[in-house]
Amino acid sequence: MQKKMMYSFPDDVLEHVFSFIQSDKDRNAVSAVCKLWYEIERWCRRKVFIGNCYAVSPRVVIKRFPEVRSIELKGKPHFADFNLVPDGWGGYVLPWIVEMAGAYPCLEEIRLKRMVVTDESLELIAKSFKNFKVLVLFSCEGFSTDGLAAIAAGCKNLRELDLRESEVDDLSGHWLTHFPETCTSLVSLNISCLGSDEVSFSALERLVGRCPNLKSLRLNRAVTLDKIANILRRAPQLVDFGTGNYASELPPDVLLNLAGAFSSCKELKSLSGFWDVVPAYLPALYSVCSRLTSLNLSYATIQNPEIIKLVSRCPSLQRLLVLDYIEDSGLEALASSCKDLQELRVFPSDPFGGEPHVSLTEQGLVTVSLGCPKLQSILYFCHRMTNAALVTIAQSCPNLTRFRLCIIEPKTADYLTLEPLDVGFGAIVEHCKDLRRLSLSGLLTDRVFEYIGTYAKKLEMLSVAFAGDSDLGLHHVLFGCESLRKLEIRDCPFGDKALLANAAKLETMRSLWMSSCTVSFGACKLLGQKMPRLNVEVIDETEPPDSRPESCPVEKFYIYRSVSGPRFDKPPFVWTMDEEGKIMH
């Protein structure tokens, strides 16, 4: 009786039900139920997320999902952030834009991460999508302010333009004047990455003034302190604000004016920017501190009395990014003032200095973990660590989902016991059962990987450097981490054995990056041969890998699953191992 009822729903009822299902995972599950559901679902999917732009071709995506309004694409491997991926590797968005220009005239949103975006791509976007609303370029490169001018001029209903952390060829600040006077739709504008010393400030002021829904505005370093008060007064509805330069030699009444401007922003919850901070101007922020949930001081070279003064006034703080000038004492103040803290990132002020110049140690992190039990996400750069500290952190913060520790000197042992930090990280994975992301550092043996393989069942991304003793380490991870999607490894003594023994695992993951390890060219060839659904790409900038014996280790390789076969836009230093054991180029 019940079976009959299910099949008698008309298609549009099913479609209506599906419209409540937003998450990709659920949508994928829905589409796997039966052919009918697959068909209905694919016609009504509006949002597509593609974690690796080479995992599938644009045509295949368009064929399956003909009515997409929003797309998110990621390009280069994560280690590209640290200059490990040579220039020209790939991640070009233009082929996608070209295909979508024809197939998705109603496309509204494009979000890209680590991709190469040219002015031509931007111009094509501006021309092709009449209802375009959202452009987010996260850590992208390859475009200039000319491309931005095209977007400003062409997208009549633009709501979001977010260039966070991208590298833009900054030819002139005049692109801002290309926003027509009729543009009033902006909700979010992030130009913090722009370097140009001349920003068309009057155009910016007018733009801000005529967009009543502007909630998020992040300025770049070129905007000086004296201009901020004017901007804030035109946008008192702002929720998220990034200052430009925070230094000035101006008279004291600027401080009063600034303080007044900040206090008129009753909705302000998030602050960032603060380049070149002059401490004397920080009190201007005091009126908003009690409402702040997010504070990014990671560009602010202010020292301790000032940092503590600021942080102690922010009891609602959930997210703090800061330089190690905060020191252990500042972290203590943080732990006692900010009980709602969920995310902490501490960056090194002097990453290449060698000797620590600031008193930031493992103790600071321990203190925060004890005082802020809601912590979920930690990124911490420091010079020393102990197993005991890690155990305390693990036990105090069982809700951690992201834990990234960078002990600056590679292979640094527990400074008290001189032992490896295996036990400490073991405690992290054992106690933090929802851990999704982990970055290791310090002196580590194969044992830490045994712990990870045993306990880190929800781990999705693992970053490893200068760790382990043998293939057994890699084997533990590939064998034990059921949820693993992304694995990136550098400078570890991992070779062929573990990789080949766990080849099938690689098809369940998005990607594997290995560099400066001991995996041989022969093993890469074998993988390419045996696993047709994987793209095995060897990166060698000096010479073709087959000019050396097969037992020679490869410099770098990147393996990822793909339904669309090898890519065609490879640069000269990338070789694909194909099914016939040939290297394709």
Binding site: F82, F352, S463
Partner: protein, 182 residues
Amino acid sequence: MEGRVAYENDLNLKATELRLGLPGTHEEQQAVSSRVGNNKRPNDESDDQNETAPPPKAQIVGWPPIRSYRKNNYQPKKTESDGGGIYIKLSMDGAPYLRKIDLKVYSGYPELLKAVENMFKFNIGEYSEREGYKGSDYAPTYEDKDGDWMLVGDVPWGMFITSCKRLRIMKGSEARGLGCGV
């Protein structure tokens, strides 16, 4: 007196050696490499080599893992067209010779003062607007454009580097006089 102290361990010829390079760094130009050979133990601070400054580490590509835009942001506008540094003389009461430093290399007072502390191996003490530098016998001072001796730290950094003509680390009663509510 100071001379004898300096010669305690060895002739310390390095300190008086003429060479190019930023004060406080050592000469070896170490090659960029993507591998690190050392299994350096954490407490082994190579004190057996010298007391003046640690050798610059061999730069490992991509380590520590920090995005390049973050590295660039620590030195404000150093790469811009003005070129040329702001070189000023730095003296310390009781030291046998002066140093020359480039103020443009530092992004703010904390960096400058730490570098000066390292150069002459002493502690400067904690700065507060009201009381100057507490907790040490030394006070960092500078001669400004008008020829007046000022306490380092009172004015915004940008103003300081354009008006500073020379730096002097004062010691003893002279220093304490400057610190107290002047």
